[in-house]
């Protein structure tokens, strides 16, 4: 992977305007997704991860959000400079998206065949009977059992796991290079989750699909991602490869989060929780967003935002207590 990244985000800033003021929900974040790489974006609600996703697709129509700065470069093209028509050529065609609730993503009155066909006609110019074999292949690719039957089905006739596979098949129908998956497993049952994650990994490995996997679930990250970006309070606080994030995390938030996760294979006497609450999006931003909950915070952390520090190759962290010397 020597060529330029497929997606490069630099200094992306997204503001939300609420009833009680303006908040910086995404505060100058930068990250990259290489071709056929699976990158995890992990964070909890209010960390800005979902807003980041929507911004990549320029879909942040939620009332009162606005991209106020930065560059989103996809395959050399700054998406923020495209007009609406040009953007549509990327959305669905080159960048596809899968969201948390598959039922909301499907049209209840159209059959699976019609919904895949719609994308094929729109993005690949395939119409009529020619759609059928491609649609069947897509369902096969997503390991849907009995594809001809599912193709004729309507969303309500499918289980949650099958719906998410159908949504993914629709997303992949345009032949995208990048799949943005925003909490795609959260609404699924555990046994179904594992199978879906295995499938995404297979697509990435075998078909060279790049994936931006957005989640709050560290277990899911471990199952499919190559690299991980940890978001907290609108900032990316740590970026590294997936093995390091679990073996030797550096940011105090990442460390505390991993320490506070119960494990199905062990029963410790007591796990230590992270004190306090996640910051509100509308709260004024001074210093490090994690400082109020951090055991290592100093006065510096509370007054000045830490810069990005390169700790090792491919491992950056934003923390005053983790400055490379």
């Amino acid at each position: 992977m020597t060529d330029a990244p497929l997606l490069e985000v630099r200094d992306l800033t997204v503001d939300v305007i609420g009833e009680r003021g303006v908040g910086r929900a995404v505060d100058g974040i930068s990250f990259a997704v290489n071709r056929s790489e699976a990158v995890g974006l992990i964070g909890e609600s209010g960390s800005g991860k979902s807003l980041t996703c929507l911004s990549l697709m320029r879909l942040n129509q939620a009332p009162g959000t606005a991209i106020t700065g930065g560059v989103i470069e996809f395959d050399g093209q700054d998406l923020l400079r495209l007009d609406a028509d040009a953007m549509r050529a990327y959305r669905g065609r080159r960048i596809a998206m899968v969201l948390q609730d598959p039922m909301a993503a499907l049209n209840p009155v159209l059959s699976v065949r019609d919904q895949i066909g719609e994308v094929l006609a729109l993005h690949r110019g395939v119409r009529g009977a020619a759609q059928e074999p491609i649609a069947l292949d897509l369902l096969q690719l997503l390991r849907v059992p009995d594809p001809p039957r599912v193709l004729r089905s309507y969303p309500h006739q499918l289980s949650g796991g099958m719906r998410q596979r159908v949504v993914s098949a629709i997303a992949l129908a345009g032949g995208p290079d990048l799949l943005i998956a925003d909490e795609p497993t959260t609404a699924l049952d555990v046994t179904v989750q594992a199978a879906y994650l295995r499938l995404l990994r297979h697509l990435q490995q075998e078909k060279g699909l790049a994936i931006l996997f957005v989640t709050h679930d560290l277990g899911a990250i471990a199952r499919i991602c190559d690299r991980v970006a940890v978001m907290y309070g609108g900032r990316i606080v740590e970026v590294t490869d997936v093995a390091t994030i679990f073996r030797a995390p550096q940011h105090p938030y990442t460390q505390a989060l991993l320490r506070s996760l119960p494990d199905v294979d062990r029963r410790p006497e007591r796990l230590e929780p992270i004190p306090g609450q996640p910051p509100s999006v509308l709260a004024p931003r001074v210093g490090c967003p994690f400082a109020p909950r951090c055991g290592e915070a100093t006065d510096l952390c509370r007054t000045e935002a830490p810069p990005e520090t390169l700790l090792a190759a491919e491992h950056t962290v934003r923390c005053w207590a983790r400055q490379a010397t």
Binding site: E44, S45, G46, P145, H156, Q157, S159, G160, G161, M162, D189, V190, T191, V192, Q193, A194, A195, Y196, R198, R201, H216, D217, L218, G219, A222, R223, I224, C225, V242, A243, F246, Y253, A256, L257, S260, L261, P262, D263, V264, D265, R266, R267, P268, R270, L271, E272, P273, I274, P275, Q277, P278, S280, R293
Partner: protein, 333 residues
Amino acid sequence: MSTPQAPIIEAKGLVKIFARRRASIFAPTPPPLRAVDDVSFALPPGRTLAVVGESGCGKSTTARMLLLLERPDGGELRFDGIDMLRADAPTLRRYRSSVQAVFQDPWSSLNPRMRIGRIIAEPLRLNTKLDEAGIAAKVATALDEVGLDPASARNFPHEFSGGQRQRIAIARAIVLRPRVVVLDEPVSALDVSVRLQIINLLIEAQRRLDMSYLLISHDLATVRYQADDVAVMYRGRIVERGAAEAVFSSPLHPYTQALLAAARFVRPEDRDADTEPVSPEPTGEAEHGCRFAGRCPAVHSICRQIEPDLEAPLPGHAVACHLHARTRSSPCA
């Protein structure tokens, strides 16, 4: 730890049947759904029994029957040995004041128009004859017990974050000093970094106030951390039941094994060696026999014919699976 004490609550053969809607006006009416089918368990004092399973397995319906929010279509619900489904009003009142609940969504469980003080005071007003000063004192104590400033009694729910709201819900649940609290997914709606605070708070409150918990959850890691006993439900039935330690370290039912495999933390180094334990979709709907047969990797012909009973091959560890049936020497009979 496992000294046999008389259970506070004992469920015996609980059944709940729901009529199902037709998929469309042209479709035939589907047969009624046995959402909870012959479910039995005992809740001993001071312990946590977790009912785990995936969506639609009947765990929340079981909780709602225990809370008398759904009326069972069969079975018994014994409280100190008396069946609450056939009890008189005073007995029921005593039961209601002894059994409280914390639900999943802290945005839905607090009335947005009520101040925190009134929300927490409600069980006291409905069940005790305390005067205003007495109520205020108990509310302040409860808020203090869940780690909130007693002055928050004057605030409204929208002024609090999800984690704080769940603390308020817990304060309300414990203010009557109940003997049993039903916890229906108490942390799954909360931020990851807040969940453990709430779990630890629940554990500490249980130890201090000597309460029993019925914990409904789909998150096995949390269950392992918090529960003493576990019942695994699949499509309305308990398929495995026993001490948490036994069920987690040596699961007997193939479904429990699949659940654990799916919930297990897989290290990135090992992920490609990880194999698919069960098919996520059942192959063919079975009319008779074991409900898991369609997905089971170890299915035998008998599994598709006869529904296995919940039996205990080991003391205190019961499973409903032909592979472990004591009476039959060979599952391939």
